[in-house]
């Protein structure tokens, strides 16, 4: 059995609107290995969330998703029908969303959510568990650091804080025991202290389940503390991917360099605004003819304006979409 859990080639996704399709994801290649934590970094609108949703086929009806190849653990996802995909979700694939408060059914108690998930997990694993569900619920809430588990079970979602709900959500995922978890900015809405606790939980979660995690974030520091590899997304493309250390210590794409500079400046307590990369994402309906980053790039030259760079491979699975990286490597 290979170590590759997910293999995606040329994933594109967009939304149909007024007779046209607005592209959001433009040709993403991604392999995810078993048990690894892959960070996807990008500013909002870069297509990172859509990539995550497309992976679980959770995009709304007006989305258009295409790929040359989409394989999960040897199974071709492209030919899988909706029912077959539904069977994968919750059993082998799971997702954690940005807003924990909005992720819960407001009409049902926490206990109901846990009970529902236990039923789903047992059904997926084709097993029957003798332990009463309340006991299982208590145990799993303890696992995610909720001390007053017994009371929490009988509460409604609106009675819990965002941090607590994110813990419960992690408990639900823990119960499902999936092989791949897509976490979409799970700590963005939390304050710093709670964020650190939740991140620690993620590390535990990953260790206990030995699941692969796709951790979507806009925060370099968070990604660095958690991820084995990092993919930087810009305007629907992965502009740089590689081992976390490599990407951080020697960012190769001008955009990554900017992100690292910003994050270091923030860590030193300097005003983040100053170090931020000027400009904004290109309008999806008016893309520049050459490199998508060219209008904001301070190192752009003639070729960048007419030709779009392809990913240029480097050592340890590194790939960079930039002519500069290609030129630096070529002489050797």
């Amino acid at each position: 059995m290979s170590d590759v859990l997910v293999d995606i080639r040329q994933l594109t996704a967009g939304f149909r609107s007024q007779g046209r399709t607005l592209g959001i994801v433009r040709g993403v290649d991604l392999t995810i290995e078993r048990g690894e934590v892959l960070g996807i970094i990008g500013e909002s609108g870069s297509g990172k969330t859509v990539t995550g949703l497309a992976l679980l086929r959770l995009l709304p009806e007006n989305a258009e998703v295409q790929a040359e190849r989409m394989v999960f653990d040897g199974q071709d996802l492209l030919t899988l029908d909706d029912d077959g995909f539904g069977a994968l979700r919750g059993a082998r694939l799971a997702m954690i969303f940005q807003d924990p408060v909005a992720s819960f059914n407001p009409a049902k108690r926490i206990g109901w959510h846990l009970h529902t998930i236990f039923t789903r997990a047992d059904e997926a694993k084709a097993r029957s568990v003798a332990t009463p569900w309340r006991e299982r619920a208590r145990a799993i809430l303890h696992d995610v650091g909720i001390t007053r588990a017994e009371e929490t079970i009988d509460l409604f979602p609106h009675q819990l804080s965002g941090g607590m709900l994110q813990r419960v959500l992690i408990a639900l995922i823990l119960a499902l025991e999936p092989d791949l978890i897509v976490a979409d900015e799970p700590t963005t809405n939390l304050d710093k202290l709670v964020e650190r606790q939740v991140l620690r939980l993620f590390r535990d979660l990953q260790r206990r389940l030995s699941a692969a995690i796709v951790f979507i974030t806009h925060d370099m520091a968070t990604a660095a503390s958690l991820c084995d590899r990092i993919a930087v997304m810009y305007a629907g493309q992965i502009v740089e991917i590689g081992r976390t250390r490599d990407v951080f210590e020697a960012p190769s794409h001008p955009y990554t360099q900017g992100l690292v500079r910003t994050s270091l400046a923030l860590a030193r307590g300097e005003g983040g605004r100053l170090a931020e990369i000027a400009g904004e994402l290109p309008n999806p309906s008016q893309l520049p003819p050459g490199c998508l980053f060219e209008p904001r790039c301070d190192k752009a030259f003639g070729r960048c304006r007419v030709e779009r760079p392809e990913p240029f491979p480097g050592r340890h699975g590194r790939a960079v979409r930039c002519f500069l990286a290609e030129m630096e490597q070529e002489p050797s």
Partner: protein, 282 residues
């Protein structure tokens, strides 16, 4: 945006267009059409009593041999006149009441709003019936009764909108410049919620027609022989089993007019409410 939703959006606009077209047709029919009819609504023809629809009388004749189409057109004019007057009265008075109440706040506002809540708790037809008893039967009193039933709805909209708008900087500025409250309300506040008022007025006219027809139908509204859509239907129910066309055609006429007004109201709401427009896009 979803392509399916787009079909819905176009269709909804088309429906609004259809509503406008129906309303225009109805207005033309009860003004020009009624004037062009060869018969008079009071001409009795004792040879052709209760005749089924024919080329001569497309909606048939009633028990006095009167042409039903002519009566429906003249009666429709009466019904629309009553409803329009009532809604005009209700919208002007209700809007002013609601706006003034919200602008000044305090206990007047509280009392007025409790009172409108109370009026809301009565079934509208029952309230109209009660008001007819209190005011006495007769056409001017129908207008007054319908206006009173619909008044709290306008007052409520005006109050809620004024509450929101009165904190806007331009209203504050007008206040600081020393403009009188009435001038601020009429000049700055009310124009800002004309769209919901228009929607409510269009639905309100439909509602007023139904109330009038209901009151006249049970005999408490417009009195025969004056035709209104309700009184024609009341006539028609007397001999419904022998000549169902009288009631059927007058009822279809009223439904047609209401369909137009309802579609128009929905259409204006879709076009003017940005919140709803956003909602159409997932």
């Amino acid at each position: 945006m979803n392509s399916k939703f787009q079909i819905g959006a176009i269709l909804r606009n088309r429906l609004a267009l259809a509503g406008l077209a129906i309303t225009v047709v109805v207005i033309l029919a009860i003004t020009l059409g009624a004037a062009l009819m060869p018969h008079s609504e009071e001409d009795m023809d004792f040879v052709n009593l209760l005749m089924p629809p024919s080329l001569e009388h497309p909606f048939g004749t009633d028990a006095f041999g009167r042409d039903v189409l002519t009566r429906v057109l003249i009666g429709g004019r009466m019904s629309l006149m009553i409803s329009l007057s009532a809604i005009a009265l209700a919208s002007v008075v209700g809007t002013m009441m609601g706006s003034l109440s919200a602008y000044h706040g305090g206990w007047t506002d509280a009392v007025l709003m409790r009172f409108s809540d109370l009026l809301f708790a009565f079934p509208s037809f029952v309230l109209a019936l009660f008001l007819m008893v209190v005011l006495g039967f007769g056409t001017p009193n129908i207008i007054l009764a319908i206006a009173l039933v619909y008044l709290p709805i306008f007052a409520r909209i005006a109050r809620n909108m004024t509450m929101l708008i009165k904190e806007e900087p331009y209203v504050q500025a007008a206040r600081l410049m020393g403009r009188r409250p009435l001038s601020i309300i009429v000049g700055e506040i009310i124009p800002n919620f004309s769209a919901p008022l228009l929607v409510q007025a269009s639905i309100g006219v439909a509602f007023g027609i139904i109330l009038e027809a209901g009151l006249s139908f049970i005999g408490l509204g417009v009195q025969p022989p004056t035709p209104s859509l309700g009184s024609i239907m009341a006539d028609g129910r007397e001999y419904f089993s022998r000549g169902p066309w009288v009631l059927t055609f007058s009822g279809l006429a009223i439904s047609f007019a209401l369909l137009g007004l309802n579609l128009l109201g929905d259409g204006i709401r879709d076009l003017t409410d940005p919140r709803l427009r956003e909602r159409a896009a997932p």
